[in-house]
């Protein structure tokens, strides 16, 4: 059996024996800077805009609702089951389908919708990334299949960056089967190094920070 052969070859090559303990790996290098919230938001927006993403600062949930309503006017949209979208009244906007828990139904809707609306578990200030952890609230395909993605995030969820993310969620596998970081719109430069957005994922991304 290849498993045992391969492990045996490795042990022989390294001079180790089966079940032999290892010294601790070098300590993890996690450096969380101290950045105040306004600076985080400014840095996150700058990063998203540099990638041709759109940003909006909503003072209140009602403001976020109005912004999203205008953005999806005349379009079909599917929203995730994130409680924050319900709180903002976005899940109940006209033209928005929400509350779907059946895989096939959701997949069909995402494949035809113009816009996917989600919240995010976290956002990263230094790279402008959204952190999406799979759950009953957030399906994977809502932020992936429709050509446009709108994410509505309460400001308290904005972390400074990767280091803080991995100190808050040291092992994502404990939480869900999938954690995805989204940093700007889908893009490719595979033909002649010319940048094209929206090759497989959404070509447009809008991040709304509430508060």
């Amino acid at each position: 059996m290849s498993r045992d052969n391969i492990l045996h070859r490795i042990r022989t090559a390294l001079g180790r024996s089966a079940g032999q303990a290892v010294a601790d790996p070098p300590p993890a290098r996690i450096r969380v800077p101290d950045v105040d919230m306004e600076k985080r938001i400014a840095s996150m927006f700058a990063a998203i805009e540099a990638l041709a993403g759109k940003t909006h600062r909503a003072a209140t949930p009602a403001d976020a609702r109005a912004f999203v309503a205008a953005a999806i006017e005349g379009k079909s949209a599917v929203a995730s089951n994130a409680p924050f979208l319900v709180e903002c009244g976005i899940a109940s906007l006209p033209g928005v389908r929400s509350g779907i828990t059946d895989r096939e139904e959701l997949r069909g809707l995402c494949a035809t919708a113009d816009v996917g609306i989600t919240s995010a578990d976290y956002a990263l200030a230094d790279t402008g990334s959204l952190v999406m952890i799979a759950s009953t609230n957030e399906a994977r395909l809502v932020s992936l299949l429709p050509p446009a993605h709108i994410a509505v995030v309460p400001r308290a969820r904005i972390l400074t960056g990767l280091d803080e993310l991995f100190s808050v969620v040291p092992n994502p596998a404990d939480v869900a089967s999938s954690m995805v970081l989204i940093t700007g719109p889908s893009r490719t430069a595979d033909i002649e190094q010319i940048l094209v957005r929206g090759v497989h994922g959404p070509g447009q991304i809008t991040v709304v920070v509430v508060g």
Partner: protein
């Protein structure tokens, strides 16, 4: 250097369009990398490299431990780990699973590891449809070629080449606008994603402590490959291991910057097992195939072992004055550039292309940009020495072969054999003493004397066996 290697290099050098394409693309990637790792952009860049190197060194030196930890964690989350020693075992596993589940259509995301084992060809040979979904890889698959560059596979093709390919292979009207070509591919591939039975990905990292596969990309095809079909198979080299998820805070910062000059690629997926209770979508089955394919061969050598630290960012290709002239297809295997020059001879054996470790000016640009600090020039030097040693061995073997050929020739020519025997007998010492003991004094010295003192040939008989036979 083989004739083939030489010919490919000359063809690339003679193609002005190709020279320009390689030069521009690598310059762009190189400059973008330099901007994002500059001291004002990333002050702790050198510390991150040092940490990445230390973590990789530790992991490779204890690889069996981390593989087993990885395996336990994948299984704890409902996934399964399969070890494969080569491409045949990878294909056998995928084919067996496909047959069992009645799968016909496979979507694939870009993976150098599956290129290494020609997975698509093997699957298609058995009647499965296996579609590459990264735009560049899709183009390469339609053209039946190998990737030209680790991160930019279709670097050598122009929009006009793509237009010809799409018209010919997809039956669409000729289209030379790149945005529209991309839209064509999106449309064709979207249907494949939604219909596919199995998604096959590679892995940028395997996280032992989480049992997770980490994948980075810009297009979204990896997310689709790993989320839309009911089965996800990740195929990864055993060396992709890192101990903990927290190590990603270091590696992800280095990978995006070194590869394409991005702070992070558009999508980073951290996947640990099939979808769990309550999760709405995601695959029902999750497999990780851990591939050896020559990797364990280079573990015993402490100096060259560091070749396995590579995270396949491609920065060394863009920095390399040789790659930038001779391009990706001149290299004898799927891995090109400086990293290809050190891992190809080690995975495939130095005789695969003895000229390869010499196709370098040893300028050190590769080592300077390597995010995990692999000392590529040093490994190249060691490989040169290996090639030379192999040549000496080969020469010695040739001498031995020549001696045996002469002996065989003599044995198959009875008359000559007899004459040689007589000649030898006539040279025997006249006093009937030992031949070897009579070796002249100047040769009878040092270790030879000890050897000669214990050995001798019997005295020559008056008549040879042949003579007695004739007179019987």
């Amino acid at each position: 250097m083989s004739v083939e290697f030489d010919r490919k290099i000359h063809n690339t050098l003679a193609d002005a369009n190709l020279q320009l394409a390689i030069y521009t693309a690598t310059a762009r990637l190189k400059d973008k990398r330099a901007e994002t790792v500059a001291p004002d952009a990333l002050p702790d860049y050198q510390e991150l490299r040092t940490q990445a190197n230390a973590v990789k060194k530790h992991t490779i030196e204890n690889l069996d431990y981390y593989l087993e930890e990885f395996e336990r964690n994948v299984e704890a989350h409902g996934g399964k780990v399969v070890y494969a020693k080569d491409g045949t075992e990878v294909a056998d596993f995928v084919l067996g699973l496909a047959k069992d589940r009645g799968a016909r259509l496979i979507v694939k995301s870009k993976s150098m590891t599956t290129e290494e084992v020609d997975l698509n060809e093997r699957l298609e040979h058995h009647g499965l449809e296996s579609v590459e979904t990264d735009l560049g890889e899709y183009i390469i698959q339609l053209a039946h070629e190998r990737p030209y560059h680790i991160v930019a596979p279709a670097l050598h093709l122009t929009r006009y080449d793509v237009a010809d390919l799409f018209t010919k292979r997809l039956n669409v009207p000729r289209e030379t606008v790149i945005e529209k070509q991309t839209a064509i591919a999106r449309k064709v591939l979207r249907q494949k994603f939604l219909a596919a039975d199995i998604g096959i990905s590679g892995a940028n990292f395997l996280v032992a402590g989480s049992g997770a596969v980490v994948l980075v990309e810009n297009e979204g095809n990896i997310r689709l490959t790993t989320s839309a079909p009911k089965i996800h198979i990740a195929i990864a080299g055993i060396e992709k291991m890192i101990p903990r998820a927290q190590d990603l805070a270091v590696f992800l910062k280095l990978l995006g910057r070194s590869g394409t000059g991005q702070l992070l690629t558009v999508y980073t997926s951290f996947l640990s097992g099939p979808r769990r209770g309550g999760e709405i979508d995601g695959p029902d089955e999750f497999y990780v195939v851990l591939l050896d394919n020559g990797r364990t061969r280079l573990l015993p050598d402490r100096g060259k072992r560091q070749s396995l630290y590579c995270i396949r960012c491609g920065a060394c290709l863009n920095a390399c004055p040789v790659y930038r002239k001779i391009g990706g297809h001149s290299f004898p295997w799927v891995y090109s550039g400086p990293i290809g020059a050190i891992i190809t001879p080690q995975f495939m054996g130095v005789s695969h292309e003895p000229g390869l470790p010499f196709a370098s000016s040893l300028c050190g640009a590769c080592a300077e940009v390597c995010p995990v600090k692999i000392d590529i020039p040093k490994v190249l030097l060691e490989l040169r020495s290996d090639v030379k040693k192999a040549e000496v061995r080969e020469k010695r073997n040739r001498l031995e072969k020549l001696a045996f050929r002469a002996f065989a020739w003599l044995m198959t020519h009875p008359r000559l054999y007899e004459m040689a025997g007589k000649l030898a007998a006539s040279a025997a010492p006249p006093d009937g003493s030992g031949w070897i003991k009579s070796v002249p004094a100047p040769m009878n010295i040092g270790p030879l004397r000890a050897w000669l003192s214990q050995r001798d040939l019997p005295p020559a008989p008056a008549r040879s066996f042949r003579e007695m036979w004739r007179r019987r």
